[in-house]
């Protein structure tokens, strides 16, 4: 069961370099990386309107979700834009390899912290030596791929 989800993760990840290539070409065509990001998010929004209507048969949610939940559940989209825009602006300053590796180290630190403390109601999964070795292996792998 878990291996199916891992394959799902591989496929989801595999989409990223394709999307990056496509969006950077879009950026060249429209003459701005920010306009390209906007068009990408806008077409994504339209796709999700159709997807929600087809699968959920509705586009509504209970209005009391606004006060029954913490305020931060609404800021995911803003964080996505921060991540995307930062990558666009950092790339010319740090170069491709360093940009990937530094954002990745940030991702790993935060992902370990979320699992360790069970933040955002994610099930607690404490860090141990084998997991730490796994993370070092992964960072080493990325470093090799990005440098050769």
């Amino acid at each position: 069961m878990i291996s199916l989800f891992l394959i799902g993760g591989l496929i989801a990840g595999g989409i990223i370099p394709v999307q990056t290539s496509i969006n950077s070409r879009l950026g060249v065509e429209v003459g701005s990386p920010f306009m390209a990001s906007f068009l990408s998010f806008f077409t994504g929004t339209l796709t999700l309107v159709i997807l929600s209507l087809v699968i959920d048969h509705k586009l509504t949610f209970a209005p009391d979700s606004f006060h029954n939940n913490p305020w931060w559940i609404w800021i995911g989209g803003a964080l996505g834009v921060f991540y995307l825009t930062s990558n666009i602006l950092l790339l010319p300053q740090l170069g491709a390899a360093l940009t990937v590796v530094i954002t990745l180290i940030g991702q790993m630190i935060m992902a370990i912290a979320i699992d360790q403390f069970g933040w955002f109601n994610v099930p607690i999964h404490e860090l141990n030596i084998p997991r730490l070795i796994g993370i070092v292996c992964m960072l080493g792998g990325v470093f090799l791929i990005k440098n050769y």
């Binding site: 591989l10 290539s21 496509i22 994610v122 050769y148």
Partner: protein, 155 residues
């Protein structure tokens, strides 16, 4: 002078670290939103819609305009418009994966898929990317990543 350049690079590195840290937080937040609105698709939609609104502001502030040449629609390749749809698959998959895999395993499995396809794109020179053939260090890097995933998954 040299010292100043060092400080600037260090600031950009801290910024990169912060941007990376935001990424798993976004997935966790979107997953909470999914439970609040009771649909992963609606949660993705809300995330994309707020992102779109913020990008209108970002584009207006940085570019000072929001126009494009409409003549490029018939002229440019058709596939330049599907990036957003791929983003939808990515964001929605992350929402579905996090509760099962946990944060670290989600990040790592997504990353491994990313590297496999990035190596393929480089190797074949797809999407007009400069060709960069597969070599032994890259293959070793891939094996290390897969070993890493298995370790994190088993323990």
């Amino acid at each position: 002078m040299k010292r100043k350049k060092f400080t600037v690079t260090a600031l950009f590195l801290i910024w990169g670290l912060a941007a990376g840290m935001v990424s798993p937080v976004q997935t966790s937040i979107n997953t909470q939103l999914r439970y609040a609105v009771q649909s992963p698709f609606l949660a993705s939609l809300i995330s994309f819609m707020t992102g779109t609104c913020i990008l209108v502001l970002v584009t207006l502030i940085i570019d000072r305009k929001m126009t494009m040449d409409l003549k490029l629609i018939p002229r440019a390749p058709k596939w330049i418009w599907i990036g957003g749809m791929l983003g939808v698959i990515f964001v929605t998959s992350n929402i579905l994966l996090l509760p099962v895999l946990g944060s670290a395993l989600t990040v790592v499995s997504v990353l491994c898929g990313q590297m496999i396809v990035a190596i393929a794109v480089d190797h074949f020179g797809w999407f007009g990317v400069a060709q960069h053939k597969m070599n032994w260090p890259r293959a070793a890097g891939l094996v290390l990543m897969i070993a890493g995933i298995l370790l994190i998954q088993q323990y």
